[in-house]
Symmetry: C2
Subunit: 512 residues, 2 copies
C-alpha cells in the first residue's frame, strides 16, 4: 500500500466533508522582481497584476528555491530543496543544471508532487505550459499526479532540424499534439506566436469545466513567453515601451486578468487561492531581451538577490484582506506546504520539507522567522535570516564564459561580491543587510559589532541545515542524445516519429 493510499484512508473522509478551495498558481518564466508596475517597473505596463496586488497581498521578500528553471520548478512541486529532490548536478562544484532535452534524469518517483497529494483530497490538477521536470515519458506530468497537460516538457528553443536535434513536442495530456515551429509556431524574426493565447484559453476552459463539475481543482499555469525566445501574439506585438520582452509581459498580464475575471464571473473567486510568481530572476545576460530585477544585484543563475527574489502576489477575496504587504520571507516551496494544509492534508512525515505553512501569514499577516537558503548546484552559497544575508560562496560566472560575452551582472561590479572565480568565504562569510542594502553593495566588515552580533545566528542556521541534510541522488549529471524528443508518445498518429540515434551516455557539461 503506497504512502498516498495510507494517507487517503485516514484523511479522505475528513476532507470530503470540508469545502476545499481551488488553487491557481501562475508561474512565470524568467520574469524578474522588477518587471511588474507594482514592484517598480517604470513603464507601469501591468495593470492586471497591479490590480491583483491591490486586491490581495504582495510578498516583496519571496524567493524561488533556485536561480534556474528546472530545480526551481521541482522544488515548488515537491516542497523540497533541489539538493533533496535530486534536481542538481555533482559533475562540478556549484554548477547550475536543468533539463535540456538530452538530459537522462528527471523527477524521481520517490518524490511526492503537489498534485499527487491533492488527489487525496479529490482535486483535479492541470498543468498548462512548461513542465521541465524531465522529458522522458516516465517523468511526464500525468505520471506524477497531474490529470491534464497542455504544454511542453522542455523550453521552446528552436527551430531544430529534426535530424541532429528534434523539435520540442507539445503535449495534450499523455500524447503529443505536435511540435514547436512545425505545428505550434513561433516566428523568431517578428516574435509572433499565439502560444500565450492558447495557454489562456486552456486555463479558462479548465476553470469553467471544473466550476461546472464542483470538483476542486489545482491549475498550474506555467507559461513561458518571457523566456528566450520571446514571443507575443499579433495584438500585443509592438504595444510595449519595453520592446518584445514588454509585449510578452503585457500579454501575460492580460492573461492573469482573464483568469481572475473568469474566477469572479463563475462566482468561485471567494473559494480560490490565486498565486502569481516566477521561477527565477530575470535573465540579465539577455540584456534588453531580458527582464528587470529592480534594485537587486545580478540575475538568473546567480545567488545574489536578482537570481531568486520573485514578484509574488496572492489573491483570495474574502480570505486574504486586500491591499496588504507581507514582510514574511517566503519561498515557492511554501506553496506546497500551504496548499497541502488548505486542502485538509498533512505533510508526509518520512522526509524533510523546506517550505513553511503560510496560512497565518495570509489570513493574519503574521511573520515567522525562517531562513532562506541559496543553493547553486551542490553548494549552499548563501543564507538569509531576517534582514541579514551571509554569502558563504560568491560566483557570477567564469572569466572564460564572461569573455565569450555571457554576463550575469551587466553594468554591475561589486568588489569581493561579483567574483568571476568561485570564492570560498565559509571561514569569514560576507555579511549584507538587505533592508539598508538591497543591492548587496556594502559588505559589513567582520570587525564591526554588527557582524559579531549577527553572524552566530546565521551560522547556527547553516550548521543545523547541513547536519540534517542528506542530499538526494543527483538527477542532472548524465546526458544522452538518444533520450531527446525523437518519438514522443502519440507521434505515430501524427506521423511525427523520428528514429533516435544510438544511446551514448556522457556527463552533461554545465558551464555556469
Amino acid at each position: 500500500m503506497s504512502y498516498i493510499t495510507i494517507v487517503c484512508v485516514i484523511l479522505c473522509f475528513v476532507v470530503a466533508a470540508g469545502n476545499t478551495p481551488n488553487f491557481v498558481i501562475m508561474l512565470m518564466d524568467d520574469m524578474g522582481w522588477g518587471d511588474l508596475g507594482v514592484f517598480g517597473e517604470p513603464n507601469k505596463e501591468t495593470p492586471n497584476l497591479d490590480k491583483m496586488a491591490a486586491d490581495g497581498m504582495i510578498f516583496p521578500n519571496f524567493y524561488s528555491a533556485n536561480a534556474i528553471c528546472s530545480p526551481s520548478r521541482a522544488a515548488l512541486l515537491t516542497g523540497r530543496l533541489p539538493i533533496r529532490n535530486g534536481f542538481y548536478t555533482t559533475n562540478n562544484h556549484a554548477r547550475n543544471s536543468y533539463t535540456p532535452q538530452n538530459i537522462v534524469g528527471g523527477i524521481p518517483d520517490y518524490e511526492i508532487l503537489l498534485p499527487e497529494m491533492l488527489k487525496i483530497s479529490g482535486y483535479r490538477s492541470k498543468i498548462i505550459g512548461k513542465w521541465h521536470l524531465g522529458q522522458q515519458p516516465h517523468y511526464h506530468p500525468l505520471k506524477h499526479g497531474f490529470d491534464e497537460w497542455f504544454g511542453a516538457p522542455n523550453c521552446h528553443l528552436g527551430p531544430y532540424d529534426d535530424k541532429k536535434t528534434p523539435n520540442i513536442p507539445v503535449y495534450k495530456n499523455a500524447n503529443m499534439a505536435g511540435r514547436y515551429y512545425e505545428d505550434f509556431l513561433i516566428d523568431k524574426k517578428t516574435g509572433e506566436s499565439n502560444l500565450t493565447q492558447m495557454y489562456i484559453e486552456e486555463a479558462l476552459t479548465f476553470i469553467e469545466k471544473q466550476a461546472a463539475s464542483h470538483q476542486p481543482f489545482f491549475l498550474y499555469w506555467a507559461v513561458d513567453a518571457t523566456h528566450d525566445p520571446l514571443y507575443a501574439s499579433k495584438q500585443f506585438l509592438g504595444t510595449s515601451h519595453r520592446g518584445l520582452y514588454g509585449d510578452a509581459v503585457r500579454e501575460l498580464d492580460y492573461g492573469v486578468g482573464q483568469i481572475l475575471k473568469k474566477l469572479k464571473d463563475l462566482d468561485i473567486a471567494n473559494n480560490t487561492l490565486a498565486v502569481f510568481s516566477s521561477d527565477n530572476g530575470a535573465a540579465t545576460y539577455a540584456k534588453t531581451a531580458g527582464g528587470s530585477n529592480g534594485p537587486f544585484l545580478c540575475g538568473k543563475q546567480t545567488t545574489y538577490e536578482g537570481g531568486s527574489r520573485e514578484p509574488t502576489i496572492v489573491k483570495w477575496p474574502g480570505k486574504v484582506a486586500p491591499g496588504q504587504v507581507s514582510h514574511q520571507l517566503g519561498s515557492l516551496m511554501d506553496l506546497f506546504t500551504t496548499l497541502i494544509k488548505l486542502a485538509g492534508l498533512s505533510l508526509p512525515s518520512d522526509r524533510i520539507y523546506d517550505g513553511i505553512d503560510l496560512t497565518s501569514t495570509l489570513f493574519q499577516n503574521t511573520i515567522v522567522k525562517r531562513p532562506i537558503f541559496y543553493y547553486r548546484g551542490n553548494e549552499l552559497m548563501a543564507v538569509r535570516l531576517g534582514d541579514y544575508k551571509a554569502h558563504l560562496w560568491t560566483w557570477t560566472n567564469s572569466l572564460e564564459e564572461y569573455h565569450k560575452g555571457v554576463d550575469f551582472c551587466p553594468g554591475e561590479f561589486i568588489v569581493n561580491v561579483t567574483t568571476h572565480e568561485q570564492v570560498n568565504h565559509t571561514s569569514m562569510p560576507l555579511l549584507i543587510h538587505l533592508g539598508r542594502d538591497p543591492g548587496e553593495k556594502y559588505i559589513i566588515r567582520p570587525h564591526k559589532p554588527e557582524y559579531v552580533q549577527q553572524m552566530p545566528a546565521l551560522m547556527a542556521v547553516v550548521a543545523k541545515h547541513k547536519a540534517a541534510l542528506k542530499p538526494g541522488e543527483p538527477q542532472l549529471n548524465w546526458c544522452d542524445q538518444s533520450v531527446m524528443n525523437w518519438s514522443p508518445p502519440g507521434c505515430e498518429k501524427l506521423n511525427k516519429c523520428i528514429d533516435p540515434p544510438p544511446s551514448k551516455l556522457y556527463k552533461c557539461v554545465w558551464p555556469h
Copy 2:
C-alpha cells in the same frame, strides 16, 4: 508699474470670480525614485504615499530640472531652467553648484517666483523647510512672494563653532527664531530631531488657518530629513528595515498622510491640488545613508536617470481620477506653468518658460511630446524625447574625487557611459532607449537603423533649444565668508548676532 501689477489689473477681476484651488507641493530632499513602495522600494514602508498614488496619478517619467538641490528648487519656483534663472556656475565647465552659506548670489530680482504670480490671484503662500535660493536677506522667501516662512535658508549641516562658521539660522517669517544645533536640535549620534514633526505641525496649522479664512493658499512643504545629516523624531527612530534613512522616510510619509488627512477633514481636499516629488535623485554616494533610485543609473549630481528622475504623485479628489499612471514626460518646472494656469493666470510673455501646462494630463491623461534637458552647470549634457535619450556629454566625477572615496555610481560601471572624464559626445551622441533600458546600460550603436532614424529628432530639439538660449547671469560663481549667516535679521532679540569676518570675494570651488 511692475509686470506683476500690470497682470493684476487685467486678471484680478476675472480670477476673483472663479473658485481658485489651493496648492500643496511636498518636495523631498535627496529622496530617490526608488524610495517609495509604489515605486518599488522592497521594504514597502510608505503606506501613506502608496495610498496617495492609489487615490491619484503617478508620474514614473517626471524629472527635476537639475540633479542638485538649489538649481532644482530655483527651477521649480521660476518655471525656468537654471541656465536661464542664473542658478549655475561658469567657474568651470559642466560643474554642479548650489548655495552653501558662503555663496554671494541667490535668486535674482528679475525672476518671478510662483508665489509672486499666485499673489495676483489672491493666494497666501507659505514655505516650510529649506529655501536654498540664497541666504543673504534680500534673497529670502518673503522678499520673493512668500507670505510666511518656517525653515532655513541653507542645508542643516553642522554643528559649527559659530567662530569660523556660524550655525545655520531657522527663520520664522522675516526673522530668525534660533539656530540649528543650538535651538533646533539634531543629535548627529542618534539621528534624533523633532524637525519633521515641527514641519508637519506648521503645515497643519497653516492649512487650518487658510481653510478658516477661505483665502486660497500655496503651501510649499520643503522638508529635508532625507538629506545628510539624516534625522527622525524619537517615535520613528529604529522603526524602519532601512536604517536611519528609512526612519526619516517613514516620518515624512506619515507627514504626507497627516497633511492629506487635514485637507480631507477640513473638507477642502476636493479644492486642493496636492503634489509629492523630490528635488533630485538619491545621494548614492552616501551609500546606505542615502536613498534608492530603483532601476536607474547613478544618482544625485549626475545626468543619468538616477540624478533627476523623481517619484511624483498628484492627488486631487474629484478632479484627477484615482489609480492612474501618466506616461507624460514631466518636470518640476511644469508645476509652475500648471499652477499659474489653474490659478487663472497667464505666463509672463517677456521670457522663456521651460515648463508645460499639465492640466490636460491631469484631467484627461493626455500626452504631449516634449523634450527633457539634462544640464550640469553650464552644459547641456543630455536630452530625452519620447523613450530616447541622447548623451551629449558623460561624466560621473573626476578620478581625483573618486579616489578620495566619492562615488556617484557605486557598484555600477558602464563602458563609455559612466566616465570619470568629461567626455564630449556631441559629434556622435550616445543613444539609449529608456523603455527597454532604464538602467542606461546598452548604447544603440551609430550604425544601427534605429540610431539613424531617431537621432535627427533629438538633435533638432537640441539645436532649437540652443538657438533660443540666452543664459542668465550666473549666480553661483562667487563666494565670500563674510556673507555667511553671522547676523541674520532678528539676531539681536535672541542675542545670536556674530561679527562677520572682513569681506573677501573668491571664486567658489565646485569639484563636481
